[in-house]
Subunit: 294 residues, 2 copies
């Protein structure tokens, strides 16, 4: 792993394009290709395609990592010279029984170990939904789960990034749906230990968006771009390539940068039509759109 | 029109079942059948089915009203002895040009006239989405639109009810997505002039839900029940009958009643499978579930 992601996280290396109020162009050195954007392709091929097309960073999903093998993947990423912005995903804390909740904690510890082995900066937490109808109880379990793994993550130098998901996922994936709610949990811990991942797909609609991004400040543990397509059909698969939807990407990036964030920017797109395209075409389109509109 | 809806809105007639902290059963005298729940049937038939099955209230959509005729519908509702909890819908204020925005204002005035002719207590406002990507500008247009029609509504005794929609509709139907945002607009006007409609489908996930319902207090201009089905597919059509999904209906009703709301409770369900059933079956199922689980 190179330390480019880490270097970009430091205030002293803010790229030229980022000076001023709203950066006119996204700096390609910050681009991290989230592997879910090429879901149909094996992880090894995606690593090579990033290196081949000048994409400096990658974000990795655990189910793909399990297929490809941890040691082998870590070596391949090192050899390709990519930085790893994040591992997706930990979380999923709420469960009906104490035994099951403990098993989820154990799995999160394994995810932290994997993050460390890959040199990932952040473990993204998708917090999980209520096992029954009780949202308040589920939110408690999330707080308890993060408290249970935070020291383990700190010891291994892995930052936890709570990713609030769009409210459309509240019943099935995450009872944590707003930046405000994620921030209130994160603030129980040191900023370098637990932060918040801002994904435009999940937060673009929020009337508190700009204010919350400002409040997050150094808590921002990652920034993800994509787009919201219109008309929306299947909400999970409604993500599009930057520029194809209605999200004010430049405005949100300016908000995130005013808050002080200078780290990697991940492109994460779940989209069947995109997934069917050839790998190099996906990676090149991602890079082009990233520079043009993100 | 009978004045049952209005009577239930008064503090002096709080039904017995509503004393105590959380009403164990919903009082069927508060039930209003939103006509969209039987979308495939003509309005006249729905009015008759409500009367025949002991459903005391109805909520009417304007496209159905246009088909059935205003005067004729008003007479039929009077004859059936139903109260009209609301007319759906005004709003849709944001538009790309001043001419188009003025046309929307005119249309809202017509909706207010129709509400008055029907004896509806509330005109529900679905506020509209941004004509381009600019959410902040669209929100401004919503505030301006409501300000333009509020005096006209007050003169005719019609209350405007801003309905925040689930964030999944932010790109296509309403840039107003949270109770908090709706409340901040409503507070520019007298409570009897502009309130907020609380629909569980749109707000159940909100971490600020209980606090915002309490803050709304006398601003609550309507309460709508249905359910959020799992797994979610098409978000617009993901509504289910009360009890078939994951929404904590009793808890939310208790919150609304603690805030002081004693008015009609509408059942509004957009669901293809339900729509295909015979009209009397839909109305009876609605009433049964309303009493059992809402």
């Amino acid at each position: 792993m190179t330390s480019l992601g880490g270097a970009l996280g430091g205030a002293s290396v803010a790229p030229r394009a980022l000076s001023g109020d709203a950066a006119p162009l996204a700096d390609a050195r910050r681009l991290s290709f989230n592997q879910a954007t090429a879901e149909r392709h094996p992880l090894g091929d995606v690593i090579d395609a990033c290196a081949r097309n000048g994409v400096p960073g990658i974000s990795i999903w655990r189910h793909k990592l399990a297929d490809a093998g941890l040691e082998r993947t870590a070596r391949r990423i090192r050899d390709a010279g990519l930085f790893v912005s994040s591992l997706c995903r930990g979380g999923m804390f709420p469960a009906a029984t104490a035994t099951e909740r403990a098993a989820r904690i154990d799995d999160n510890r394994r995810a932290i170990d994997e993050s460390a082995a890959l040199g990932a900066e952040v473990l993204v937490l998708v917090c999980g939904a209520a096992p029954d109808r009780d949202l308040a109880a589920a939110r408690e379990m999330v707080g308890e789960g993060i408290a249970a793994i935070a020291p383990y993550a700190a010891e291994r130098g892995i930052r936890l990034g709570i990713e609030p998901l769009h409210p459309a996922f509240a019943a099935e994936r995450s009872c944590i749906t707003t930046m405000r709610e994620a921030r209130l949990i994160a603030e129980r811990f040191a900023p370098g230990n637990v932060g918040v991942v801002v994904d435009v797909y999940h937060v673009w609609w929020d009337p508190e968006r700009a204010a919350e991004i400002a409040r997050l400040g150094e808590r921002i543990a990652g920034y993800h771009v994509n787009d919201w397509l219109v008309p929306a059909k299947n909400v999970l698969m409604n993500r599009g390539m930057m520029g194809d939807g209605v999200i004010e990407l430049r405005r949100i990036r300016a908000e995130v940068e005013r808050a002080g964030y200078r780290g990697p920017i991940e492109v994460e797109i779940f989209n069947e039509a995109l997934w069917e395209r050839p790998l190099d075409e996906i990676v090149r389109l991602t890079k082009d759109r990233f520079v043009e509109v993100a």
